[in-house]
């Protein structure tokens, strides 16, 4: 098969499957609703109103445009005709798949069979919407024609827009903005002054202090959550990003912090009623100790084994906190309530806004510690270990000790996060500490960029902040995280905002002669 046709078929198949998948998980309906919410052209009375159909067509057209342009990637002999042919093929393949699917579900729906018992989002409304309010046959044919046309158009468009990459243009724009700014006299003055860095830090600090003031409690709460995830992310960043130890049971340390403050300050089950600040210190220390205790036996293992063992450890903590055996000690499945908040000089300091300040303070502390560590002997030892443990050992690094240190420091940060989290919510229970927390934190570290402090902050803003803005998409969050982890590893393993060193590492093999040919002597496509 010719290359451009093959490109078309593979893109078409991929996008066809993706479209059907989106429909099966109900994402098409949700996205339509979301868009309707933004531009306000849908009514709740009928799911397949003209406005909703318009939104769906608009969104799917974007997807199919992408399809066509993916198919029309440059081939050896790059002509407009070939690009259009690729787009056309991709459109036809996708169109056929989607049309068959639409016809099948449409006819089942038309026969009056309710599929929701098996496929939960296949409601009659959703199917009607997917068929654009038409009968199964007409709807399927319309889909086929529409998708094919869009595909061919996208192929043409992709050819026309080639060599005008958008990304470069944006990059240039960014450079220009930066240049402009650095020419402003005041900024130039600050940059040149001896205390330039400190002035900038001061400005950032001021902004951070001011941010919570105009926000409502809800947004402050959200901001607090993001901040706590920044804390957790920075902690995991030390373990995973700097020392290269994949810890999937990170939530265990978070839980230890949360339970420490809960048991020490809550009236039930122990009625100790300690001061919050003392409990905070205890929580951090206990989490660090737990990190060392777990680390001593498991840190001899490498890579994937460590991941599984830590995952197991996290599950053990969750099962224990959930079980009836420890109800008397830690509240069992019902958790612990009425956890004390902080107070300063006898004044309660526990509004969501106050907590945001507290959390920001924690983050700044952690950022300070991390950045100092990163550029110290310890940080360099971690990087050396991550790169090649044997060599690191050979140059005299006590790898075990440094690993333990990374584990303990990461655990301490998680403990701090746990203390703040439990105290802000005034409650903690087993469900706060499930595996999903670990996965969330891992995702944000990886998406942001392993080993990079600004990366972790970006990651938590994107992964924790965006879902708050798009509440309708909450159901798809974990799905998206899973897909993101895979996609990031394939497309951009160094993350959105990588540290310089990491970026070089991840792309170093591209400069070496490819060894892949050796492994595949037939040279043919395995598919």
């Amino acid at each position: 098969m010719k290359e451009h046709i093959r490109n078309g078929v593979s893109a078409g198949l991929t996008f066809g499957v993706v479209t059907i998948f989106f429909s099966l998980i109900g994402f098409t309906s949700t996205a339509t609703e979301l868009m309707g919410g933004f531009i306000g052209n849908t009514s709740t009375a009928r799911a397949s109103s003209p406005g909703a159909i318009f939104n769906l067509v608009f969104l799917l057209t974007l997807v199919y445009l992408w399809n066509g342009s993916m198919a029309a990637k440059p081939t050896e002999e790059d002509t407009q005709q070939k690009a259009m042919q690729s787009g056309l093929v991709a459109g036809t393949v996708t169109g056929l798949l989607v049309a068959i699917y639409a016809f099948t579900v449409g006819s089942i729906n038309a026969a009056g069979i309710d599929m929701r018992d098996y496929l939960t989002s296949m409601s009659s409304d959703a199917i009607e919407l997917f068929l654009l309010g038409l009968s199964p046959v007409v709807g399927a044919v319309v889909q086929l024609v529409w998708i094919t046309a869009v595909g061919a158009g996208a192929g043409w468009l992709a050819f026309k827009l080639r060599d005008k990459p958008l990304r470069k243009a944006i990059g240039r724009l960014w450079e220009r903005i930066k240049e402009r700014f650095s020419q402003v006299p005041l900024i130039q003055k600050i940059n040149k002054s001896k205390y330039g860095n400190f002035i900038w830090y001061g400005v950032i600090l001021l902004v951070l202090v001011l941010i919570p003031l105009p926000l409502s409690d809800y947004w402050n709460y959200t901001l607090g959550t993001i901040g706590i995830y920044v804390l957790l992310g920075l902690g995991l960043n030390i373990v995973v990003g700097m020392a290269g130890l994949l810890d999937l049971g990170y939530v265990a340390f978070f839980a230890i912090g949360a339970y420490t403050v809960a048991l020490l300050t809550a009236p039930t089950p122990h009625n100790l009623l300690w001061n919050f600040w003392i409990a905070l210190i205890c929580g951090v220390i206990l989490a660090a100790l737990a990190g060392i205790l777990l680390g001593v036996p498991v840190l001899r293992m490498r890579g994937d084994y460590l991941a599984i063992v830590t995952l197991g450890f996290g599950e053990i903590i969750r099962i224990l906190s959930k079980s009836d055996a420890l109800t008397g000690f830690s509240g069992g499945p019902r958790g612990v309530r009425d956890i004390a908040g902080p107070s300063i000089l006898g004044m309660p300091f526990n509004s969501p806004r106050a907590f945001v300040w507290l959390i920001i303070l924690g983050c700044l502390l952690v950022i300070f510690v991390t950045s100092r560590l990163q550029n110290s002997r310890v940080g360099r030892a971690w990087v050396a270990m991550r790169e090649d443990e044997t060599v690191a050992q050979a140059v005299g690094i006590n790898t075990w000790q440094y690993k333990l240190m990374a584990f303990a420091i990461g655990a301490a940060f998680a403990g701090l996060g746990g203390v703040l989290f439990a105290s802000r919510n005034m409650f903690t229970g087993p469900e706060d500490h499930n595996l999903m927390v670990s996965i969330n934190v891992l995702s944000l570290v990886i998406v942001g960029g392993m080993g990079s402090i600004p990366g972790v902050i970006t990651g938590s803003l994107v992964l924790k902040g965006l879902p708050e803005l798009l509440r309708q998409l909450e159901t798809y969050r974990m799905l998206a995280f899973g897909a993101l982890l895979v996609a990031m590893m394939i497309i951009r393993p160094e993350g959105l905002w990588p540290s310089k060193r990491r970026r070089l590492e991840m792309h170093e093999e591209e400069e070496e002669p490819p060894t892949e040919h050796l492994a595949n002597p037939s040279g043919g496509d395995a598919a």
Partner: protein, 366 residues
């Protein structure tokens, strides 16, 4: 007499060794005390209880063994943990469920109101397994193609993270498509759950369920078939060659990518069979059903020596039995039986990372 300065040799203190020995002594001591307490003081469990534990342990263990094979096959070849294997199993369980539901609602004998499922029970079960295994096979092959193949040669953490992502993705996709509802597996009448042969031990009835025996026998058959494939066929030889050394295998004319793809296919088929068996024996499936069994099967694979086929089978059986009898022996609530499996994982990795039938791959791979 003149004193000569004797060279002081300071023995390096190996903290790790000390920790190892301490844990071992504590653990063995506790175990001995518990067994003594059980046998002499408490005497809560009679012979019938022990038989019940053993039977359920063997059944559970046989399913673990089938899942563990999937981990071990992939690990043997790619040295990566296919984290999403549990989800492959879950997909197989769902496919089997839908097949059985479809057959159960297809009335072939309107007079008696009998569905295909009970008119042809054997064929129905074969069909369910066929569909389940096919689905899982396809899922496994595509998983490898999409999530793992582009990452070959990347640092080791990279494919592992990708695998975790794939696992989460599949779990949530299943939840969104099929809803998080727990579903009752529809068995044909001959395999009704909780019925079986009754054995009287210690003047108490012990029921050995049909589904349990079915699961156990089928697992053993699957394990034998798989072992034959790997040891006796051309494909198996290619697989072993690739596991040994990819480059050399490629130079000998083996299509490495093809072999890896086929390995994922076989491992997926095993996962699918395990999923259907899980459904038939345990009766309830949901989107999360593959996760914990997957983790435990991984434990089993490590216990037996990862990358080692008989090891995975043995590890599965041992883990099943330990899990069934563990809570009674250790005197902890049955609610905490999952803790035992994970503790075993940790203990094995501390004391014998190469597993029971370990290969000589520890230092490098662990």
């Amino acid at each position: 007499m003149e004193k000569t300065a004797s060279p002081k040799v300071r023995m390096p203190i190996n903290t790790y060794k000390i920790v190892q020995v301490t844990i071992a002594v504590l653990f063995i001591g506790y175990l001995i005390w518990r067994i003594y307490a059980l046998a002499v003081i408490e005497q809560v469990y009679g012979a019938d209880s022990w038989l019940r534990f053993a039977v359920s342990g063997l059944i559970l263990g046989s399913v673990y063994a089938v899942i563990a094979i999937g981990y071990t096959l992939v690990y043997g070849i790619l040295f990566m943990i296919n984290f999403a294997h549990g989800e492959i199993m879950m997909l197989g369980a769902y496919a089997g469920y839908f097949t059985l539901e479809a057959l159960g609602s297809w009335i072939v004998d309107p007079a008696a109101g009998q569905a295909f499922l009970n008119a042809n029970p054997v064929l129905s079960i074969v069909l369910a397994f066929a569909v389940g295994m096919t689905t899982s096979t396809i899922a496994g092959v595509f998983l490898e193609k999409i999530a793992y193949r582009p990452l070959r040669g990347a640092p080791r953490l990279v494919p592992l993270i990708s695998a975790i992502g794939a696992s989460i993705f599949l779990q949530n996709a299943a939840q969104l498509i099929f809803s998080p509802r727990r579903r009752d597996y529809l068995n044909p009448d001959i395999l009704t759950r909780n019925t079986g042969w009754t054995v009287v031990v210690n003047s108490k009835d012990v029921v050995i369920t049909y589904t349990g025996v079915f699961t156990f026998v089928l697992s053993i058959i699957l394990l034998i078939v798989l072992y034959t494939i790997v040891q006796r066929t051309r494909m198996g030889r290619a697989m072993r060659a690739v596991a040994e050394d990819k480059k050399t295998a490629a130079l000998m004319g083996i299509d490495v990518d093809g072999v890896i793809s086929r390995t994922f296919a076989i491992s997926g088929a095993m996962g699918g069979a395990a999923g259907v068996m899980w459904g038939i024996h345990n009766g309830i499936i949901y989107h999360y059903v593959g996760f914990i069994p997957g983790l435990k099967a991984f434990t089993a694979a490590v216990l037996g020596g990862i990358g080692n086929l008989p090891g995975a089978m043995l590890g599965g059986m041992v883990l099943g039995i330990v899990e069934a009898t563990g809570p009674a022996i250790l005197g902890i609530p049955f609610q905490l039986k999952d803790v035992i499996a994970f503790s075993i994982l940790v203990l094995v990795l501390i004391f014998r990372p190469s597993g029971i039938l370990g290969e000589v791959l520890t230092e490098e791979k662990v």
